[in-house]
Symmetry: C2
Subunit: 256 residues, 2 copies
């Protein structure tokens, strides 16, 4: 791995649960030498990608990242556009709704709305969702480029629960159904006791760029509720796609 990759993988050690880490911790988790880790952190701090707490000496993600993310968001207002519809869907379903965007080889959660229930599905911002074993992932693949689908299915597929589909053929079938139906269903494929439905949000070229999904405890989900939820998530995804692409869904390559 090049130096740049190392620096970035340091940044990727920070999570919502552990937003502040010490030098030794970072060195241990990254596997880099302490001196190396520190030099990388220094370079990152110098550009505002990392900040160091003056009192505790621990490191956290810096304002430079916010700046660049806002520049990106100005060009491509994904969050701004989608968040209101995520809220609406969360209100109408009274379940956890999350929004993700494709990045490298997984979906990254960029926004979440949680319901008031004590028993609910908890998802963190920044969490990575594998493509083959989540409702979002399948919804994405249903409208992804062929090479993306192929790359996903030829990789090694991890089984997260006893229900996770890991045979490429079974996943292909699921993708096909999703394409016909317009939304995907994932029954405990990622976490035991959680059932999700998702639909793809698509760019002007018709390919998926992200997803919106509803995740609920299986215990409180009746079979009858699923199609209803699926249609709602599909409607939200379509609305977001339309708003992003200036109302002209015609240009979408494949119809949902």
């Amino acid at each position: 791995m090049g130096t740049v990759g190392k620096a970035i993988s340091l940044l990727e050690l920070f999570t919502v649960d552990e937003p502040e880490l010490g030098l030794s911790d970072l060195a241990r988790r990254s596997g880099f030498d302490k001196a190396t880790t520190r030099r990388l952190l220094l370079a990152l701090t110098g550009h505002g990608f990392v900040e160091q707490d003056a009192a505790t000496r621990r490191y956290r993600l810096g304002a430079g990242l916010s700046r660049l993310a806002r520049i990106r968001e100005a060009r491509f207002p994904f969050l701004q556009t989608a968040v209101p519809l995520v809220r609406e869907l969360a209100a109408s379903t009274a379940e956890t709704v999350h929004l993700s965007e494709f990045g490298v080889d997984a979906l990254v959660t960029v926004h979440v709305e949680h319901p008031a229930w004590a028993n609910r599905v908890n998802i963190d911002i920044g969490q990575l969702l594998p493509l083959h074993s989540t409702a979002s992932g399948i919804a994405y693949l249903a409208f992804a480029r062929d090479e993306t689908v192929k790359a996903c299915l030829t990789g090694s597929l991890k089984a997260f629960t006893a229900h996770t589909l890991i045979e490429p053929a079974a996943i292909s079938t699921s993708i096909g159904e999703t394409r016909d139906r317009g939304y995907s269903i994932c029954d405990q494929g990622f976490e035991e006791g959680v059932i999700s439905v998702a639909a793809a949000i698509r760019a002007a070229d018709g390919f998926a760029l992200g997803t919106i999904a509803v995740a609920a405890p299986k215990a409180r989900t009746t079979p009858a509720a699923l199609p209803e939820r699926g249609l709602a998530v599909m409607a939200a995804a379509r609305e977001i796609s339309m708003r992003l692409n200036g109302e002209n869904l015609q240009t979408l390559r494949r119809q949902a």
Copy 2:
């Protein structure tokens, strides 16, 4: 400069006005060799910090940045907290209101609300504001650590207009007045014909972490309007500080 710094400075070439750049363009502007530039871009794309448009082959900022920025925002909800108050202030003043956060050695604009006027002050998200020559900068320095102030005043101070204060003594005076008054005034110090007032947003330790500012065309600003505007911006800054620090302004080291 280390390789990491070079990679980051590539990212910093993207702006709201030019959110997509080609390889040769990036190489030219960064001053790096084309091969080097490409290798850096490859490393950045591999981690989702940069994306390449499949059709035009041009590069843009990637989703990985949004992901990290959201993780940061989850820990420290600066935008979420401040944006509603920025909106309010924009509505009540009917002028451009902008929010900035300190990063490395300047303030970075993270949010802007523009009024409906045709003649207004335009500010882009991501724009960097120098500390010595903007209302935001002076407001920040008024509640910054002594070493930050010193570092700023000993550097070389650029005059952006004929009105820019560049003598350290004059700037110190301005900082002192701001500390006493609670808000700063900058009369055309950054751009001809623009007059701004700003106040510092402060962390739990009492030091500034960002600013909120109102920028207006000097032509339509009466001397009487300034103190009114100053008090409004100060009230907004104090409210944001309180919400960020859990209502306990007592812990703030210095009183505004």
